[in-house]
Symmetry: C2
Subunit: 461 residues, 2 copies
C-alpha cells in the first residue's frame, strides 16, 4: 500500500499503483475571504480564486474585483509590475490570482491584493445579460427570475438566500436541542391531509397519486414514535392563486409534538425558535444582514390574542365593519399586524381560536365552544407565516369529526390506525420558509425570496 496520497492524481491511478488512499479534506493553497482578513496576513503572498465581478481600468492601473462566496476581494493590476497582460482577463472569467496582500482603506474589508500572477480558469461565451456588479439590480422581478442563475450572482440577491439558510438552520438546531427528531416523509402519496381540489395529481405506475400538500399525516403518526418530530421539505399546492404571497411549491418548516398541555405549548416552542434564530442570524449572518440593511424584529415577547377579539379590536380602532365573523380577509391580517405594532410594539402576533369551519378535520375544537378551535396563526408584519394548533388525539373523536364532515376513511386507514393504537395529546405547526424570509427582509413579493419559484405561469428555470 502506498504510504502517502490523500488526493490521488489521475497519473497515479493509471500508473503502476493499483490504488490510492483518500484521507479526507486537506487544506487548499487558495485562501477564502475570512483567511485573508485574519490578523497578520498583510505583507504575505496569497493565492486566491474567484469570479471576475468587475474590472475598472484606470490606464496604468486596474482594479479587478473578485467575487468569492464570502464577499468581494479587490485586486490591483499594475502595468509592468503584474506579470501578465490585462487583456487576458475579462468580466465573468473565473481566475486564480497570486500577489501580495496589502492594507488599503478604500478596498472592501480593508485589504487588497497587488497582483503578480493571474491564471484564467474559465471564460464566458457571451457578455452578461444583467449588470450583476451593481449594488442594486435595477431590473424587474420578471427579468431577475428569467435570468435566475445570473441575477443571483449579485451579492445582495444572493445574500437573501444565505439568510434563508440561517432560518432553516436555526429551526433545525433549535429543535434538536429541544429533543425533536428529524424525519423524511414521502411526497408522493395516495391521499393528502387536507384533500380537496388543490392537489397536483400524477400517475404512479397506473395508480392515481397526489403530491403532498403538507407532511401532516406523517408527522402526526411519528408523534407516536418519537414524541417530537420535525421536517424541512417541499410541499405542493395546486392553488390557482396569482398573488404576491402564494407559491405552488414551497419549503415548509414543520414540527409536531406530543404530551402538550395545550396549544399554548406550540406557540411557546415557535417563539423559542424565533428567539434562537434571530440570535443565530445576528451572530453568524451579520455580513448578509448588513448588506441588506436588515433590522431583526423583537421576539422576546409575542402577543397572543383571540380571533374574535382581535377582529373586534381592529373593527373598532380602524372603523371597519365585520363582514364575516368566521373568516379573516387579507386586509384584516394587515390591520391586525398594524394594531399589534401600534398598541403593543410587536412585529409578530399570534391569533388564536380560529373558527372550526375554517380548520381541517383533525383540528381540536375548543371544548368550551366548539365553534372555535384550539389553534392559531402567527402573523408577521401583515402576513400569515404559520398555521398550527392542537390535534384530536382520541380515535373515536377523530372518527366522529370525520363523519360530521361527511368524510370516509378511505385511504386513511394507516393514519387512523396510529390513533386506534394510542396517541398522546399533541399538536404542531407549519412555517412557510419563503414567507418568513420575505417578511424578515422587508420584500413585498414572495418570489424575491424563493430561489426558483413555481407559480401559475412559471415552471422554469
Amino acid at each position: 500500500m502506498p504510504e502517502n496520497a490523500g488526493r490521488p492524481g489521475r497519473q497515479d491511478l493509471k500508473g503502476e499503483k493499483k490504488m490510492e488512499l483518500v484521507k479526507g479534506v486537506r487544506q487548499t493553497e487558495t485562501l477564502e475571504l475570512g483567511e485573508l482578513l485574519a490578523e497578520g496576513m498583510c505583507g504575505k503572498t496569497v493565492k486566491v480564486n474567484g469570479a471576475v465581478h468587475t474590472i475598472r481600468d484606470m490606464g496604468n492601473v486596474a482594479f479587478i474585483i473578485l467575487r468569492k462566496r464570502e464577499g468581494l476581494v479587490q485586486c490591483v493590476y499594475e502595468e509592468g509590475v503584474s506579470g501578465f497582460d490585462l487583456k487576458v482577463v475579462k468580466e465573468a472569467d473565473t481566475v486564480c490570482v497570486e500577489g501580495e496582500l496589502t492594507r488599503s482603506d478604500k478596498a472592501p474589508g480593508g485589504v487588497e491584493i497587488r497582483l503578480g500572477k493571474l491564471e484564467v480558469l474559465s471564460s464566458p461565451a457571451e457578455p452578461m445579460p444583467l449588470k450583476i456588479s451593481k449594488w442594486k439590480l435595477d431590473t424587474s422581478l420578471e427579468a431577475k427570475l428569467n435570468y435566475r442563475p445570473i441575477s443571483l450572482r449579485n451579492i445582495r440577491e444572493r445574500a437573501k438566500f444565505k439568510i434563508q439558510e440561517g432560518i432553516v438552520r436555526g429551526f433545525r438546531d433549535f429543535l434538536y436541542e429541544q429533543g425533536f427528531t428529524e424525519i423524511h416523509t414521502p411526497k408522493i402519496g395516495a391521499k393528502s391531509a387536507e384533500g380537496g381540489a388543490n392537489l397536483f395529481r400524477l400517475d404512479y405506475f397506473h395508480r392515481p397519486a397526489v403530491l403532498q400538500q403538507s407532511p401532516q399525516f406523517y408527522k402526526q403518526m411519528m408523534v407516536g414514535v418519537f414524541d417530537r418530530v420535525f421536517e424541512t421539505a417541499p410541499v405542493f399546492r395546486a392553488e390557482k392563486h396569482n398573488t404576491k404571497r402564494h407559491l405552488n411549491e414551497y419549503t415548509s418548516l414543520d414540527f409536531e409534538m406530543g404530551y402538550i398541555d395545550g396549544f399554548e405549548d406550540l406557540m411557546a416552542m415557535e417563539t423559542g425558535f424565533l428567539q434562537y434564530t434571530m440570535k443565530l442570524l445576528a451572530e453568524k449572518y451579520d455580513r448578509e444582514l448588513k448588506l441588506l440593511g436588515v433590522e431583526l424584529p423583537k421576539t422576546e415577547e409575542i402577543p397572543a390574542v383571540r380571533f374574535d377579539e382581535i377582529k373586534r379590536l381592529v373593527a373598532e380602532k380602524y372603523d371597519r365593519k365585520i363582514r364575516n365573523p368566521f373568516d379573516l380577509e387579507p386586509e384584516e391580517e394587515g390591520l391586525i399586524s398594524r394594531y399589534a405594532k401600534e398598541e403593543w410594539d410587536a412585529d409578530f402576533v399570534f391569533v388564536t381560536h380560529y373558527p372550526s369551519k375554517k380548520r381541517p378535520f383533525y383540528a381540536m375544537d375548543d371544548p368550551e365552544d366548539p365553534t372555535y378551535t384550539l389553534s392559531f396563526d402567527l402573523l408577521f408584519r401583515g402576513m400569515e407565516i404559520t398555521t398550527g394548533g392542537q390535534r384530536i388525539h382520541d380515535y373515536n373523536s377523530l372518527l366522529e369529526k370525520m363523519e360530521k364532515r361527511g368524510m370516509t376513511d378511505e385511504g386513511m386507514e394507516q393514519y387512523l390506525s396510529a390513533f386506534k393504537h394510542g396517541m398522546p395529546p399533541h399538536g404542531g405547526l407549519g412555517i412557510g420558509m419563503e414567507r418568513l424570509t420575505m417578511k424578515l427582509l422587508g420584500e413585498d413579493n414572495v418570489r424575491e425570496t424563493t430561489l426558483f419559484p413555481r407559480d401559475l405561469s412559471r415552471l422554469e428555470p
Copy 2:
C-alpha cells in the same frame, strides 16, 4: 400589559385581558430520561409522561415500562402503596406518572420510579396488532410496512431512524463548516437533468411537467452563485425496478463545489463527511448504535481504484470473465467490496473513471482517454451509495457533448445560460440517504431504513 404569562391559558384569552404575551419555551414539570439519569436525582419525587410500552403484573407488584423518546423507564406499582388501581392503566395508554426515583440495578438505566400517582392521558381503541415491546419485531418486512406507524414504536425499529437523522445532520454540519450554502430547489420542473423514461409526469396547470430525478441542474447553476452548495431533499425516479436496493422516491444528499483541481477533491470532501459523521454518531447517537449493535466502519483512509483496474483485479482474483468492460453488474459491485475488504481491509471503496457512455452528458470526459470520465462511485459494503464527478464547465464543450448525444437545448436554456456566462471548474455528488443508512446498519433491504417507502407496489402509508 400583563406582567407575567409565557403560556396563556384559554381562560385568560377569553376573559378580561385582551392579550397575553408568549415568552418562549419554559421548563416543563415532567422530566425526560436524560434528566432522570442525572447525578443526585435518586430519592426525589419526579413527574414523567410516556406511552405504556408494557405491563408485567406480578401480583402485589407490577412493572409498568414507559416508552419515552430517549428510551424506556421502569415504573413500579405496589398495591396499597401506589395511589391508584392498576386496572385503570393498559398497554398503549399514554400517561403521566409521579413517584420517587430510586436506584435499581435491574431497571434500564439503573433507576426506577416507585409510583405514587398515575393519570391516563389517552387510551387506544384496540389492542396492538404487533407486539412492539419485543426486543426484535419478529414479523415480516411486509407486515412492518403495513403497520408502519405501529411497528416504528419498537425501540430498535425507531433507533434506525434516529441514526439516519445523525447521518443527515452530519452531512449538513460538516458542509456548513466547509463553506457550503444550503439551497432549496424545486421538485416540479419542465425538464429533468437525466431525462429519459424514468420520470414521473404530471399536469402543471395544463403544461406537461416532471418530478426531478436529482437537483443536478440547480446545484450546478448555484455553483456560479455560492461556489459550494448542498441540498438534502427528496428525488423521484419512476424506475420499474423491484429490488432490495431501489426506491421510487428517496432522500438525496447532494453537494456541488466550484474551483476544484480535479474530481479527487470531491472524493476528499466525501471522505471528510464520512469521518465527521462517524464521529458525530459515536458521540451523540451512542445509545442507538448500542441498541442496534452497530460497529462503525473505518473512514480514515478510503481506497480509490480505477474502474478498468478493479474489474481486472476482481476477475483475476475471483476467476470471473469480464463480460462487458464498460459496465458493472451488481454482482461485481459485491466482489469489488469483497476485494477491498480482503486486500485493503476497507468497508468503503471509490471506483473512479467510469466509462463515458454510462455517465450523463454533463460528466467531464478524461482528456487522456475520452472513453472514460473524471468521475467515481463510492461503494459501501457491496453497494453503490454515491455517484459523483467533475462536470463540464465550458459552454462550448457542453454544447458539443450534447450534440454528440443527439440532444437539443430545449427546456435547458436557463441551465446553459449559467455556463454561457461563466462557470468555474466544478463537480459534485449525490448520496442515497436510505442506502447509506441500510449499509451502516447491516440491513439487507433498503425499505428497512426508509420511514415510508415508495416502490412499485407501495404508495401507502
